[in-house]
Amino acid sequence: MNEVSLEMKKPHILVVEDDAEMRETLSDILVENGYEVETAGEGKEALTLAGKEKFAICLTDLKLPGISGIKVLEEIKRINPEAYAIIITAFASKETAIEALKAGAYSYIEKPVNMEELLHIIKRASASYQLQEEKKRAEEELRKNEEKLKNVFASVTDGITVTDLNANIIDCNQATVDMSGFSSREEILGRSAFEFIAPQDRQRAKENTMKTLKQCFLKDLEYICLTKDGYEFPVLMSPSVLRDAHGNPTAFVAVTKDITERKLAEGELEKYLKELERANRDMEDFTSTVSHDLKAPLRTIQAFSMLIMEDYSDSLDETGRDYLNMVKEAVERMNMLIEDLLTLSRVGRKFSEVETVDLNELLEEIKSDLSARIEERGGEVVEVGKLPTVSTQRVWLKELFTNLIDNGLKFNKTNKPRVEVSGEEADKNYLFRVKDNGIGIEEKYQANIFNLFERLHAQSEYEGTGAGLAICKKIVEELGGAMRVESKTGEGSTFFFTMPRN
């Protein structure tokens, strides 16, 4: 840009004059007036210079030795048609003037040269030349931009369609042609854009056209479109309005994206999700049914062992009564296992309504429920800091905390079992911690403790089914959080779990 304006400040002038004195005078005056000047004493030299450099103005004497002034100006015009030629002539006559103008001269000036007049003519020619150059440059720029735009228009993979205000197509790109199944752009031009929209969406599309006119732009309208052969395909269309300088609407432009593949992918995903949901439901139904079916014969065993124990124990010896006791205990354990299985199958399925739960209150309730165990062990359950109030499914949060606290008290050999509960609000999650001073978990077992029915100790040592932590983990995961443990043998365990805040 700088280069251009520099060139514009100093138009390049070629002075062709055989009279050395005159040549010098003209050159000096022009240089003084800010022009860049080259001189030549005869035609041949002038043409050589014109071949090397581009001159805006050529000031030439008509009468030159060798090649004539007319010839020089003709050649210069051939080399640079935009150049302005001004003829200096001592033989002022209508004929020579007409001849010079015919040959393409811009103007002529008579000898003896009136310098003021000359400068005036040169100034005008120079202004015209600059204007012309500027216009040429602007046109070139415009052409380049148009070319660029045309390339973009042609190469984008989304369809671009321009219509008049009656929605008749006046232009479109190759992507539109490909999408519609027509063989050329010409086949599409002149058709109504609504022809390409499936009948079920046509009315909506017409309404949206009116809306576009009011709002200028609508984004991602979902339509079913039609190909030339009537095949339907889903698209997202974003129409906008083009306006003239006065703000009056002149045309619509719509960008159309074919979303067939996205829809297919979404369909696949939905299918898998449904299958997964069904598999999960089947699994839960299976667990539930099996558990119920297992419970019926168990009740029978329980009832008859009770009857034998109560009504026929006199007929048994000590060993017989021991055996019967073992049956009774096994039945109780089996009952607990089945209950745990049922609980596990209910987590995620029978979630109750979300409610606001003050965890400080919930903890008091749990303490009261566990009071027998706390008293029996002489232990304590302590809140460290204030617990948050959360929106959640109360039943399951209670089950979760109860299990963890009960474990902390149960797997504990100290004289004063202690379980600490704390909770804090992090960025996106609540972070909870249940810490005990119990027996701890050996590192090699830590990875397995969340498995169903995983027990690390003999039933005689610590009662339970080994389902508690599996249930806890499932609850945390159903609530959208994660759970882990840190523990050292003999030093207690800390269970950490998160819960999303929303």
Binding site: H292, D293, K295, A296, R299, T300, Q302, A303, F304, M306, L307
Partner: protein, 131 residues
Amino acid sequence: MIIRVLHVDDEPADLEITRVFLKREGKYDFEIVSVLSAEEALKRLKEERFDVIVSDYKMPGMSGLELLEELRCNGNEVPFILFTGKGGEVVKKAAFNMGADIYIAKNGGPANQCSELARTMRELVKEKINY
């Protein structure tokens, strides 16, 4: 007063448990007739009079609900208790719609269960007499 009970269940052990634990309930004398199918129950009902029917839900052949429907369609209004381990809310609702008087889920220990059954039967029969 003797309450005559017709107990229908395809599981002989369940019939026996109920019989024994109801006997233990004492105060009232329950005279219990135990049958292993709904079809057999219908046969007995034609021949004898009962104060209350206690029926399982799921049985091979005619189910407890079908038995209830058959009775009510024929104008038999004898108090009916559906006593089942399988069922849940759907069955419970269907039972009440068809005119069952009480739904008891088989859950928990036999002693408590039969104690609840006995209490319920007494109330039903008392209600019927007062009515």
